[in-house]
């Protein structure tokens, strides 16, 4: 299996208001092979989205490297990066109302010339992406008329049209009802198998991560708190340390951890302070 993504000793910080360096990420490292799925977990503000931006090349690391198929991402041009890695944001944000197909075609920008004329291969890839995400019937609809689940599929299709090797998902199932969640997970699993895509997914739902992701990265305050197989990472101790709540765990089911319940912590109450 080809190594798609390798992250070594990745450090980054945002400039703070006082002029120095503020919040950031400290020495993160992992690798991702063809067809693998890595789930990124952690409380709000742990640095998950920042990590995703660094992986996609829209932020430049201060130290360490992100290499995509062996090349450091900050040495690749914008188009070359987009041919290797695709980002699927949470929201479909468009001021001008494009149709589904036009939106998906925008994914071909990184593989076409100056005037973005679509050739036969480009059109074939767009059709394939629409098919894989089950959007063929909706392709002439304006995107702002779609439901939340359909919009999410459009974003996925646009990313697929880039023919990337790595897919970065920002909370792919947030705000989706159970049926759409299950469908999306299935679509992504199929893509991992058929296209050999490596997937990095930020997740909020710990139970979804437990049942879906074989590999996990648990983050807190810009650092990796635990990483490895789901069975090793999703144990009461790290979860309590990261989320600050007590954890009740059911016995594992095969290779996946069992259902996890959170309850208000009893040992060391966290008193929120509003000042």
């Amino acid at each position: 299996m080809t190594l798609l993504l390798r992250v070594e000793n990745l450090c980054f910080s945002y400039p703070s208001n006082e002029g120095g360096r503020g919040f950031g990420l400290t020495s993160i490292g992992f690798s991702l092979k063809e067809g693998e799925l890595l789930g990124v977990l952690g409380p709000n503000g742990a640095g998950k989205s920042t990590l995703l931006r660094l992986l996609g090349g829209s932020l430049i690391p201060e130290q360490g490297t992100v290499s995509l198929l062996g090349e450091p991402v900050n040495r690749l041009s914008a188009k070359a990066t987009a041919q290797r890695v695709a980002w699927v944001p949470q929201e479909l944000d468009s001021v001008f109302h494009l149709t589904v197909e036009a939106m998906v075609r925008l994914g071909r920008y990184c593989r076409t010339g100056a005037w973005s004329t679509l050739g036969r291969e480009d059109r074939r890839q767009v059709a394939r992406a629409l098919e894989e995400t089950d959007l063929v019937g909706l392709r002439h609809r304006p995107v702002h008329r779609l439901s939340g689940g359909e919009k999410r599929r459009v974003l996925l299709a646009r990313a697929l049209a880039q023919e990337p090797k790595v897919l970065l998902l920002d909370e792919p199932t947030a705000h989706l009802d159970p049926r759409h969640q299950v469908e999306l997970v299935e679509v992504i699993n199929t893509l991992r198998k058929d296209r050999g895509l490596g997937v990095v997914a930020i997740l909020h739902d710990v139970n979804l991560a437990a049942s879906w992701c074989p590999h996990l990265l648990l983050m807190k305050d810009g650092r990796v708190h635990a990483q490895g197989l789901a069975l090793e990472v999703l144990t009461p101790k790290p979860l309590r340390e990261v989320y600050g709540v007590d954890v009740v765990m059911s016995p594992p089911r095969g290779e996946c951890p069992g259902p996890i319940q959170f309850k208000k912590t009893t040992s060391a109450p966290v008193v929120p302070s509003f000042r």
Partner: protein, 316 residues
């Protein structure tokens, strides 16, 4: 659709050539080919004027369409953002100080656009409200500076500036027209090349970058081009309001939002609007002329409102 546009464009073009203080529509072909007063009028006066009007309209509409994609705001327009009046101020200053007018106008437009973007930016994508407010304030500032210059200038000079400001197309000699058309054509060509990437940018900076656009570089290039286009249009023709706003928005309602199609159509429609407005301005009260800016607003605004009402569902 495109065929219809071509036919319509042709009709406007020849119609504009034939109407005016002297009606040429009867012996049009004769006027074209046989020497005489009619041919003089056609070749020396009408044709340069129509070509110039078309270029100005195309530049303004193209700049408007580009700015709207660039700033992710359908209200962005060279006139509303104060870029046109910045160019006018630059041009007037150039006239008095003795700098070549196109250069001074482009510099004025660039400074104005830069100022609006700087004021509205605050880190991320320029906020729509801030941008429109900054544009309005800038517009007021440059207009009053312009009025000040007018009040201080000698009488003949100020009358000259005033006429030009009102936006009345003149008929330049061919020797001057050809280089203007060349430069304008280059700017338009460059704007066309930006069109596909504009779609990406209208999705937000992060998404655009992830789809393969070098956002910062592209934004700079596009801003400079818009300022150049506006500056050029203003030098030729004074401030023509409304073309940059109405045309691309009408066009998006009719053609759709995919910029690669919308931008060229905007340019053609902008050219048509200005040529048509100029033709009406020349012929309605002939031999008196109505400034083209007045007519674009009179023709454009109701048309825009009708389209807006008919197509409002698409917007919601």
């Amino acid at each position: 659709m495109f065929l219809g546009l071509l036919v319509l464009g042709g009709t406007v073009f020849f119609g504009a050539l034939s109407v005016g203080a002297v009606d040429l529509s009867g012996g049009f072909w004769k006027a074209f080919t046989e020497p005489g007063a009619a041919q003089e009028i056609l070749w020396r006066i009408r044709l340069p004027r129509v070509l110039l009007g078309g270029l100005v309209g195309g530049l303004l509409a193209g700049a408007g369409c580009t700015l709207q994609g660039l700033l992710r705001n359908p209200l962005a327009d060279p006139y509303l953002l104060g870029v046109s009046s910045g160019a006018a101020l630059g041009s007037a200053v150039g006239l008095l100080v003795g700098i070549a007018q196109p250069v001074a106008a482009m510099a004025g437009a660039l400074i104005a656009l830069g100022a609006v973007l700087f004021l509205a930016r605050g880190g991320g994508t320029p906020s729509a409200t801030l941008m429109i407010l900054a544009g309005a304030a800038l517009h007021a500032l440059t207009s009053s500076l312009l009025t000040f210059i007018l009040s201080q200038a000698r009488r003949e000079e100020s009358v000259g500036i005033l006429f030009w400001l009102l936006g009345s197309l003149e008929s330049p000699p061919w020797g001057r027209l050809v280089p203007l058309l060349g430069v304008g054509g280059l700017v338009l060509g460059a704007l066309f090349l930006l069109a596909p990437a504009l779609n990406l940018l209208s999705l937000g900076d992060d998404t655009a970058r992830s789809l393969g656009l070098a956002v910062a570089r592209f934004r700079w290039g596009a801003v400079v081009l818009c300022a150049l286009a506006t500056g050029l249009a203003v030098t030729f023709n004074g401030v023509i309001p409304f073309v940059g706003l109405v045309v691309p928005n009408t066009d998006r309602l009719l053609v759709g939002f995919y910029n690669r199609g919308a931008l060229p159509v905007s340019v053609v429609m902008g050219a048509m609007l200005v040529v048509l407005a100029d033709a009406l301005g020349r012929s309605l009260l002939a031999p008196q002329e109505i400034p083209v800016g007045v007519v674009t607003a009179l023709v454009g605004a109701p048309f825009f409102l009708i389209i807006l009402r008919r197509e409002r569902k698409k917007l919601g």
